[in-house]
């Protein structure tokens, strides 16, 4: 039950957002040149770490914009929120 500071709208309740999985997975520009293993690495493999994790979130019941945030999965503390294309502050 977090409060998420949407970079476009400000602080809003968790319930307004949807989780979009791990952040900074860049879709390969030339998928056809990848081996099965390389493609599978992009498609299926996720870190699911305990600690600071970078995540994609969508303000689905608000501005509908996607953004990234870094969250400590051990205590759900959100350390930074930043727009797509930007880098986290820490």
């Amino acid at each position: 039950m977090f409060i998420i500071n949407c970079p476009y709208c400000g602080e809003r309740d968790h319930a307004e957002f949807s989780y979009g999985g791990e952040a900074h997975l860049v879709r390969p520009k030339q998928p056809t040149e990848l081996s099965d293993d390389q493609w599978a690495e992009y498609l299926f493999m996720r870190k699911n770490i305990k600690g600071i994790q970078y995540e994609r979130w969508n303000h689905s019941h608000g501005c509908r914009r996607w953004f990234n945030l870094s969250r400590d999965t051990s205590n759900d503390k959100i350390h930074s929120v930043y727009k797509i294309g930007e880098k986290p502050s820490e």
Partner: protein, 1001 residues
């Protein structure tokens, strides 16, 4: 009114208001302000129920939320009955009827108590060890007996007639608990203008101060009750504070989000409950939270410490002071601290005989023990109670001296008669909410309790839940810390009178003169776990406290071990020689005290519970007797029975009419996304499997959308309205997720594309007219459109007018018939629909629903995403290779189409099935086998995805997904059903008009 245990005066009860209630069918009396427990005790009733495993008689042990024994069921009727309520929390009202639980057939004669005789064979893990084998006995034997013998109350069997509510609330500071610490914090904060919410689970505020001895405790020269009254009055005068009683915080989540349940009517007589909300669930987001949840008194763990008539010392004091009830006439007290002496003095002053105090300490330098000595109460120093006698009520205690190091007993035992034993093992800070919020604990080695490790910027604990004891310490800490926490300058002075307190000494498990294993020293009363169970679990190799907890079930009952979790940990720490601070605690989980399903669900709003979406023509469908089906939130016309026509007959008639004359379908629910921007064509190229850049303006194209794993995700027709302008249709159910997915790609993967998406599903009404007469009907309905095949061929679109209304007409077909879709602004949907009906009358136009639509497309072998596909099907599996572009460099899902798994030849593939008997209709979902055996298991190679009787072909047709299906064409397969096996032949998926001639009929 026989209240032989009621004192002649005193208490916060209203003696002028007598209340009658029933307990186990017997009519009893109490006063307004009594709890069920205090009223029963006033009537001399201690025995409330039987224990969970051994069915030992158990009595009222506490005076509050921590009660492990006195669980009752409140019964009104089949719809209104509440199990597992604590008698110590129920406020009595006229008409209350409560019964004991967990005793069968009655509380006084209990068949299950035979377990008690065999208790040596019901050790820890008994249920795990015994009821394992054979599995066949589970259903009829074990489960029946366990449920019958162990049942914790009964659920209502009818619909809940009560009203519940949810309330969202925001405040600057939430204070949980209105004992002395909470009250001082609330006043400090309110006085500084903060927006405060103060809650307490009890009906009255003041906490344990309510029953403190007024001769020894004073605040600002006021007796405890006077100070509480004055403070509460002052608080009520602040406009910036909201105060809730009977409100229990169930859960403390992250970011100061707390769930609380407020009880509004449970304490009222039945006649006053009518029309009122029973409980309200509060969802509170607080800027800052102050926890002042107090502490819970501990018992002592010794042999047979569970008999009725053994109670917590503070509870006995509360019953005397707050309810004017004496819990016994001949009282002994067993303690390790000074607090129990306040109980002794209070009882003595009320004329109740306190015969002896057994204290494990060598001595105390406190002021209260000294007073007891002066009063002539016999104190047995350095002694312990090691056994009790009495079956349904205690009648004797065995007392013996302790060795110097408290590890064993010495000398001869002394037997003392008594009808009540008060026990006091010190206090455990109630850190439940603190730990729920993620807080870590520290262990105090001297005082033997866990306490909050640290306060944060937005949360702090004060008072005894913080490990702060003594009235003066609590009040000073509360005031000072609240000032600091909320940045308040104003200071208030307090003068406090309190007794001087002696030291505290702790023994987790009182030693015994019996050999180990022969004692029944209960740690968890409700689940009947003993110290020996814990030791056994440790001997059997359980090391983690979480495992010991589950194996012995200690702390897993409805009270969640509020009373004795500490002792369980203490015993584990002693046996394993681990420091408690290192051992830690088991996890405290919400809810702190049980909350009802009704409160969680909230108001029953009937049809408003979920959003219902209706098309612009909905009223027409209703008027013409349509039956509706739910597709997501949409209500879609399913079929239109004429008179008493069955669904089957209606669908057959509608399907036939659509091919022989004309049919009309409401397709407004299809998702519609308006796509604009200079990169719109490139965008479509990337999200669909086929090529889009060469699609001419005014043309339509069918597209298949995949996930990047190569599996079919959605499909639909997209029309190019202009150079940089498309309108995409999606499936009805997929509209929102497709829109979300496309937005995701645009925002995160391809921000360089100049494309804008707008959902316009609700903006347009879509009317589909099909059949050989459809063109003639459209010509009558629209103006300025030339419907000749050369001007307006299949898969193209025209702008036109219906009267003065703009419309878009697409010539596209999901039925395989000549077919047009008219899109108009939603407000005009019904009038245009009606216009089509009138225009089509001479051609026999027939409205058809989604069921006939499904049948018609199945005749043509068109897939429905979600019916023929299930997220594991690729376009190649669907034999739709034609729609997958070989030329395009990339599109979503392309790379996955030639992974080693997706290129397997024997994947499940899309096929048609023809039954041997043309009248036999397959069941959708039926499993398909190649080889029939006498009984299962058989190798299942696929399943039927769609199945109908085709009125246009006069035979049964079906679509299926079958392993290696492409190569099985013409082969026989079998569908085993419960009473027969159906033979089918694998066929092409297109059953009707393979050449597509009808599109241009």
């Amino acid at each position: 009114m026989s209240n032989e245990y009621r004192l002649s005066s005193g208490g916060q009860i209203n003696r002028s208001e007598i209340i009658s209630f029933k307990f186990n069918g017997k009519i009893l009396y109490g006063y307004k302000g009594d709890t069920l427990a205090s009223a029963l005790l006033a009537n001399g009733i201690h025995l409330i129920g039987r224990s969970f495993k051994y069915h030992r008689p158990r009595g009222i042990f506490t005076s509050g939320v921590e009660e492990p024994n006195a669980l009752v069921q409140i019964i009104k009727d089949e719809a209104k009955t509440d199990p597992n309520l604590r008698a110590t929390q129920i406020e009595i009202y006229e008409g209350l009827s409560a019964t004991s639980q967990n005793c069968w057939p009655s509380v006084k004669f209990d068949l299950g108590s035979i377990n008690n005789l065999f208790s040596p064979i019901i050790p820890a893990g008994f249920y795990y060890k015994t009821f394992m084998w054979p599995a066949s006995l589970w259903k009829n034997v074990y489960e029946y007996f366990i449920r019958k013998a162990a049942g914790l109350g009964k659920s209502p069997t009818k619909k809940d007639p009560d009203m519940y509510d949810h309330n969202y609330y925001h405040c600057e500071v939430l204070i949980v608990g209105a004992g002395p610490a909470g009250l001082v914090a609330a006043k400090t904060a309110a006085n500084a203008g903060k927006r405060v919410l103060l809650v307490d689970e009890r009906p009255n505020f003041g906490g344990n101060l309510n029953f403190a001895n007024e001769n020894y405790n004073k605040i600002n020269e006021l007796a405890p009750l006077e100070w509480i009254k004055k403070t509460c009055l002052e608080l009520k005068n602040y406009k910036n504070i909201k105060i809730l009683n009977r409100t229990s915080v169930a859960a403390y989540h992250n970011y100061n989000y707390l769930i609380m349940m407020q009880n509004l009517t449970d304490h009222l007589p039945d006649k006053d409950k009518k029309g009122k909300i029973r409980q309200r669930l509060w969802k509170v987001r607080a800027k800052k939270v102050i926890l002042a949840t107090g502490s819970i008194e501990r018992p002592m763990i010794f042999d047979c410490n569970d008999r009725p008539g053994i109670m917590l010392s503070s509870a006995v004091r509360k019953y005397a002071n707050s309810y004017g009830v004496k819990c016994g006439n001949n009282i002994s007290i067993f303690t390790n601290n000074d607090d129990a002496y306040e109980t002794a003095i209070t009882l003595h002053n009320k004329g109740i005989k306190v015969k002896s105090i057994i204290d494990i300490r060598e001595k105390s330098n406190g002021s209260l023990p000294k007073k007891c000595d002066e009063l002539g109460i016999k104190i047995h120093w350095k002694s312990a109670v090691i056994y009790t006698e009495g079956y349904k009520k205690i009648n004797k205690i065995h007392v013996i001296n302790l060795s110097k190091d408290n590890s064993s007993v010495v000398g001869n035992k002394l037997k003392i008669d008594c009808d009540l034993l008060c026990v006091s093992g010190g206090y455990t800070p109630a850190v439940h909410l603190y730990t729920q919020s993620g807080g870590k604990l520290d262990y105090n080695e001297d005082k033997h309790y866990f306490f909050p490790k640290k306060n944060t910027l937005n949360q702090m604990s004060i008072g005894s839940c913080n490990g702060t004891f003594g009235l003066k310490n609590i009040i000073t800490e509360s005031h000072e810390k609240t000032k600091e926490f909320l940045d308040i300058k104003k200071t208030e002075q307090f003068s406090i009178l309190e007794p001087r307190s002696g030291n505290f000494e702790n023994i987790w498990l009182i030693p015994s003169n019996k050999i180990s294993g022969k004692t029944k020293s209960f740690v968890d009363y409700q689940n009947d776990s003993t110290a020996n169970d814990i030791k056994l679990a440790l001997r059997e190799g359980f090391k983690s406290i979480e495992h010991v907890k589950r194996y012995t079930t200690t702390g897993m009952a409805t009270d969640q071990g509020k009373i004795a979790n500490m002792h369980a940990l203490g015993i584990i720490s002693e046996v394993t020689n681990t420091k408690l601070g290192e051992l830690g605690t088991t996890t405290f989980r919400p809810p702190y005290s049980p909350i009802t399903f009704g409160a969680l669900v909230g108001r029953n709003v009937g049809k408003f519970f979920d959003i219902v979406r209706k098309t612009p023509m909905h009223n027409w469908h209703e008027k013409y007797n349509a039956k509706f089906e739910d597709v997501g939130q949409w209500k879609r016309a399913w079929y239109y029975p004429s008179g008493k026509e069955s669904m089957y007959d209606a669908v057959q008639r509608e399907s036939k009419a659509a091919r022989s004359n004309a049919g009309i379908l409401d397709a407004s629910t299809l998702g519609k996304i308006d796509i604009q921007g200079s990169d719109a064509s490139e965008f479509l190229n990337r999200v669909y499997t086929n090529a889009w850049n060469k699609l001419a303006i005014g043309k339509c194209r069918y597209g298949l959308m995949l996930n990047d794993d190569g599996m079919v995700y959605d499909d639909g027709v997209t029309t190019r309205l202009g150079e940089n302008h498309y309108i995409m249709t999606t499936t009805t159910g997929g509209a929102a997720t497709v829109m979300g997915k496309l937005e995701d790609f645009l925002q995160t993967e391809w921000p360089e594309l100049n494309v804008y998406l707008t959902s316009v599903t609700d903006h347009f009404a879509t009317i589909s007219v099909c059949g050989p007469h459809s063109k003639k009907i459209l010509e009558k309905v629209t103006q300025n459109i030339d419907y000749s095949d050369t001007n307006f061929p299949h898969m193209s679109f025209k702008n036109g007018l219906v009267d003065k209304i703009n419309c878009r007409v697409m010539r596209i077909s999901f039925t395989g018939e000549l077919s047009y879709e008219i899109n108009v602004q939603a407000n005009y949907g019904q009038s245009v629909w009606e216009k089509c009906i009138v225009a089509g009358k001479e051609y026999g136009i027939t409205p058809y629903g989604t069921e006939a639509m499904h049948l018609l497309r199945a005749e043509k072998g068109f897939i429905i995403v979600g019916q023929e596909t299930d997220g594991t099907v690729t376009p190649v599996d669907l034999q739709m290779d034609w729609i997958v572009s070989k030329k395009k460099y990339d599109f979503i899902g392309k790379r996955s189409l030639y992974r080693s798994d997706t290129i397997r030849e024997d994947r499940k593939q899309y096929v048609g099935l023809i039954t041997k008997d043309p009248k036999e209709i397959l069941e959708e979902g039926a499993q398909i086998v190649a080889e029939v055996k006498n009984k299962p298991p058989m190798d299942m190679i696929g399943h039927v995805t769609s199945s109908y009787y085709s009125p246009n072909l006069n035979k049964s047709i079906a679509l299926a997904i079958v392993k290696n299906g492409k190569k099985l064409k013409g082969k026989k397969l079998y569908i085993p059903m419960p009473n027969k096996t159906i033979e089918v032949t694998v066929s092409d998926t297109i059953f009707l008009d393979k050449e597509g001639k009808r599109l241009n009929a």
